[in-house]
Point group: D2
Chain length 331, copies 4
C-alpha cells in the first residue's frame, strides 16, 4: 500500500486526493497546506493527517510519494526536496514559468528524474489516448497534420491572469505537450498570432485572448493550434489527426447523449462540459493510476520534467513569435 | 426518343413533367388536364401540346407512355385504357382506395401488367435504396427487424382528409410498401393502434392523427411503423434495419450540413426538409429514370399494380385492426 | 452514517457494494452470501463483515438497510423479513417471476412499502432521466409516442434462460418500467410479437429471441418496444419520445468520442459499451444515491414494489399476446 | 432570353453548359473549342452551334455573355476581348498565374470590371453560403477565428502539376478567396508551411503536397488553412467559424445518410463525395444563376477580377513564406 502526501489542498489537490483514496494500492496519508483548515478538511474526507508545512510531508519517513499541487513558484523547490528525500513525485504543470529555472531543475534532478512525473493530464484522456495509440497502430498511416482546438469556457480573473505567465505558458502549454506527444517528434519551427479581440485590458499585461499557432517538425509534419480564452458554448477540446491513410477526430463531451428536435432547430444537444475538472475527470483518475503503477513498479514515469521544459520552450517561442511577428526556431 | 404524356397537371404532374423533360431518352409530348390552362402552362414550360381529355393523350398514336397524375378515382380507368391502347403506364399511388376495384384492375390488366408501374417513389430514395441493396448484399446478415418512422410536417386540410381514405390508405400505404420491399416477404399479421391526439375532428371521419403498426411475416421477421400527421420539426422519414450481423439507419435530410454551437445548445442543425417533393426530389427523378429505362428496354417495370394491391390490403387490415382493437391476418 | 448490508455477493452485489462504499453518508457493514468466500472477498475490498445467512444480516441491530442481490426466488421472502425487522430495502428486479406472489408481497408489505425500493436502474440513467425531466418541463409538448430500443449484446447461457421467466419477464420488464415511467400513464392494451430467428432451442422453453411490443394507454398515447437477445454491434439502448412540439432521442454510449475516416468508411466509431454494468454504471451509482437519500430522510422511495408488479403484469400480458397472437388488455 | 457562349468544352465547360441549358432565362447559343469535336458534342447535347475560334463566339452579335473555361493562360486575353466587345463574362479562376498580368487585366478592364465575374464557385456552396449569411446575421457575434480544411482526394498527374502554378496558386487559392469572403477583411500577414510528405517528385517543381497557412487581418481576426493533395477518405472540404457568441461548422457530404453498425465499428458512413464537380454541383448551378441574374439585371457581378487578384496575392505570399520560412506581409 503506497502512502501518498498531497501538497496543496486547493481544487486540484482535491481531485488528486479523491483519486488516491479510490485507488486499491494507495492511501492518502498526509495533506499539507499552509491554510491548515483546508488541509484538515481534505484529510477528514479522504483520510490521512493534516500538516501545514509541505517539507514535513516530504520528510516524513512513511511517505512514499508526494503530489505537488501548490502554487507554480514552489514547484521546483518542492520537487527537488522530495526527490532528494527519495520520494516519487507527481507535480502539476508547469515546472516553472521561467525556462532557465525549469532547465536548472531538470539538471539538478539528475538520476531522480525518472521518478518525477509532470502532470500533463490530457495525455490520459481516453479519447486523446486512443488516438495516440491508434496512430502508433497504423490506423491512419504516416502522420501528416495535427489540429488542436483548445478554447476555455471563460476568461480567468485578471488577478489570476497577471501571474499566469500569459496565454502561451498558462494555457497553450497543454496543447504544446499534446502536440509533441501526438506528433512523436519535436517541433522545430513556431509561428504564433496573438490578438486581443474581446479583452483589451490584456494589452497592459502583454497578453492575448485569442491565439493561433503553427508548428513544423524536422521531418515536415505540421500542426495547427487554435485557442481562445472564451468560448460561449463551453470548454472546447478537440483533436484532429490526418495521415496518409486516413483521419481521426476526437469530439467534445456533454452530460448526456440526448438530442432535441424542435420547430427551429434539430439535433440540438446540451452545452459542452464546461469545467476542466469535469471534462478531464477520467483523465485525472487515469493519470494517478499511471503514476501509482509506475512508482509501485519502481519504473520510470511516463511524463518527465524534460517534457515540461520542452513544452515551456515552445510556449516561450510562441510568445516571442506573436510579440515580434516573426517565425521562431526551437531546438 | 420516348414520347410521354402527363395526365394531370397538378403539383405531382409538374414533378414528373420536369423529370421527363430533363431525361435524354424521353420527351414531354402531351399534357392532359381538364383545367386546360394548367395543361398549357406545363406544356409551355417543359414542351409538348396541351389537351383537356386524358383519353386524347392515351389514344394519340405518337405517345409511347403515359404518367397518371390525375385524382385517385380515375387511376383504374385511365390505367386500363392506356394499357389497352398499348401504352406503358406510370401511375401514382394508390391503384384505388377500394381493394375490390384495385384487385379487379390487376386481373383486368392481365399480360399488360408488366408494363404498368405503380409510383411508390420511396423505393428510389438513394438512402432507402442503399439499405435495400446492402441487406441483399449481406451487410447486416439475416434481417430480423425493420422500423419505419413516417411523420408528416403538418395535417392536410380537412377537405383533403375527407376523401383521402384515412391515414392508413393515404399515408401509411407508402410505409407498407416500403416494409414489404425491405422485408422481402409478405406480412401476414397486422396490428395497428390509432389515436386522435391533436385533431378531434378526425373522429367524425373515423380517422386517426397518430398511429403505430406492428407487422410479422410468415418466417417471423418483424416490423414496426410509427406515424403522425404532424411533426413540429418537419418531415420525418427514417428507416432502421436490424439483422443478425448488424444494423443500418437512414437519417433525415436538411438544406445544409451546418451545425451551430451557442450558449444554450450545441450541434444544432436546421429544420428537416419539410415538403415531400423536396425531400424526395431525387427519388422522383430516379423513379422516372427507372420507368423510362424499363419501358425503353421493353422490360418489366419494377413496381406493379400487384404491389399496389398488397400495400392496400395491409392498409385495410390496419384500419380494421385499429377500429376493432384486434389482430388482423392478411394473406 | 447509514449502515448497509449487501445480501448476495455476485456481480450485481459487487456493483452495489462499491457504490455504498463511495457514498459519504453510508458504509458497507455486512455482506451475506451462502458462498462465504464471496462474501469475505467483497467485505475485504469495500469494508464490513461477512456472514453466510442473509437473515443474520437482516436481523443485525446495527443494520439500517439491506440491498437484496440474491436469486430472484428469494426476493419476496427477504424483502418481507427485512421490512418486518424495520429495515429499509433496495431489492433488485423482479419482485418475483410469479405475479400472484408479487402482488401478495405488495399486500403483505402494507405500510412498509414506502421504504422498499425496487431497483429499476434505467430510470437513473442520466440520458433517460433528462428526457423524463424535459418532457415534464414541456420541451416537446404533449407526449404522443415513445419508442424503446432494447437489444442485448449476446444471448445468455441456456441454463440461465431456463430459469429467467422468458424474454418478457427477464429483459423487456426493464422496458415496460421505462415505458410506464416515461409515458406517465398505465398502458391498457398490449400486443407482442415473438420470433425465434437465431436460437431455435428457445422453442423448447416457450421463449423467443426477438420480440416487438406495442402499447397504448387509456388516453391514446402509444409506445413501441423492439428487443433482441443479440445485437452484433453491442448493447443497444435507445429511447425516442415524440410529442406535439418536438422530439428527443437518447443515443448509445461508447468508450470515447473518436471517429475514424478511412478509404472505405467515414465517421466510424468504436463498438457500443457492451456490458450492462458498464453502460449503466452511472445509473447504478445514482440509484444508490437516490436510495440512501430517501432512507436517510425517512422519506418514500421513488420506485416501489407496486411498480414492480405493474411491469410484471405487462410482461405477463406480452407473453400471452405473443403466445396466442391476440391483443391483451391490462388494468 | 440571355444568349450565352461557352469558351472551352472540357469538363468544367460541360458543367457550365448544363447549368445554362437548365436555366429558364438563358440559352446555350455557342460552344467554342479548338477541338471542334468536343464543341460539337457539347452543343449537340445542350443546344447551340459549335465553333473552333473563341473570338468568333465573343464577336458574334447574338451573344450576350461568355463563360471562359479555356486554359488559364488564355483567360486574360479572352476576358479583355469579351469585355471590349460589350459582353458579360464569367471566367474560371484564376485570372492568371502571374500577379502582374492579373493586375494589368484588372486595370485594363476599367469600367467593364463590374460585368466580369470570377468563378470562385465555393462562395455558392449552400453550406458555406449559409455560414456567411449567418455570420452577417449575428448568429455567432463578432468573428474571431476561421478554420478551413481543404484536402483533395488524390494527387493530380505530374504533367498537370508542372503547369499548375503550385499548390498555393492552384488549390489553396480557393481557400484564400473563401477566407477573405468569410473574414470580411483583407489578411495582412501570411505564414505558410510546406512539406513533401508523400510525393518527393514535387521537389523538382519547387512544390509541396501538404501545406498549412496562418493568416491575420488588420483588426486581428485569425485564420488557419490546412491542405493536402491527397486524403485517403475523399474530398475533405470543411469550414469552422468561431466568434464571441458561438461557433458554426460545415461538414462534408456523402451520397446518402445511411449509417452502418457492425461488430467492429458503429455509425460508419460511406466515403465522402470524391469529385469536386459532384461535391460542388449545386454550387456551380447557383453560381450560374447568380451570374445570369446579375447580368440580366445589368447589375454588378458578385465576384470580380479584383477578388481574383487579391486571392492570387495571398497565394504568392504563401509560396514565398513557405519557401523562405518567413512571415510575409500583404497589402
Amino acid at each position: 500500500m503506497l502512502k501518498i502526501a498531497i501538497l496543496g489542498a486547493g481544487r486540484i489537490g482535491q481531485v488528486h486526493a479523491a483519486n488516491v483514496a479510490r485507488h486499491r494500492d494507495a492511501q492518502l496519508a498526509l495533506v499539507a497546506d499552509p491554510l491548515i483548515d483546508n488541509a484538515r478538511a481534505l484529510a477528514a474526507h479522504y483520510g490521512g493527517t493534516a500538516v501545514n508545512n509541505p517539507l514535513d510531508a516530504i520528510n516524513h519517513p512513511d511517505i512514499d510519494a508526494v503530489v505537488i499541487c501548490s502554487p507554480t513558484d514552489t514547484h521546483v523547490e518542492l520537487m527537488l526536496a522530495a526527490a532528494s528525500a527519495g520520494k516519487a513525485v507527481l507535480c502539476e504543470k508547469p515546472v516553472d514559468l521561467d525556462i532557465g529555472k525549469a532547465l536548472e531543475a531538470e539538471r539538478a534532478l539528475g538520476q531522480h528524474a525518472r521518478r518525477v512525473m509532470l502532470g500533463f493530464n490530457r495525455r490520459f484522456d481516453p479519447g486523446f489516448n486512443e488516438i495516440h495509440r491508434r496512430i502508433r497502430n497504423g490506423d491512419i498511416g504516416d502522420l501528416h497534420q495535427v489540429i488542436i482546438t483548445s478554447r476555455d469556457p471563460g476568461l480567468a480573473p485578471m488577478n489570476y491572469l497577471k501571474h499566469s505567465g500569459g496565454i502561451f505558458r498558462d494555457m497553450v502549454i497543454h496543447d504544446f505537450d499534446l502536440a509533441r506527444w501526438i506528433l512523436g517528434e519535436e517541433p522545430v519551427e513556431v509561428f504564433a498570432t496573438g490578438s486581443r479581440l474581446f479583452e483589451p485590458a490584456l494589452e497592459a499585461l502583454g497578453d492575448y485572448d485569442t491565439v493561433m499557432v503553427q508548428l513544423r517538425t524536422a521531418s515536415g509534419k505540421q500542426c495547427q493550434i487554435n485557442c481562445s480564452r472564451r468560448a460561449a458554448y463551453g470548454y472546447d477540446q478537440r483533436l484532429e489527426v490526418f495521415g496518409a491513410g486516413g483521419m481521426m477526430l476526437n469530439d467534445n463531451q456533454r452530460e448526456t447523449t440526448v438530442r432535441h428536435f424542435g420547430a427551429q432547430t434539430t439535433e440540438a444537444r446540451g452545452p459542452l462540459l464546461n469545467f476542466f475538472m469535469q471534462r478531464y475527470s477520467e483523465a485525472y483518475q487515469l493519470e494517478m493510476e499511471s503514476f501509482i503503477s509506475a512508482i509501485g513498479n519502481d519504473g520510470a514515469v511516463p511524463i518527465t520534467v524534460h517534457d515540461g521544459c520542452q513544452a515551456l520552450k515552445l510556449a516561450d517561442a510562441a510568445q516571442r513569435s506573436a510579440d515580434t511577428l516573426t517565425v521562431v526556431n526551437v531546438n
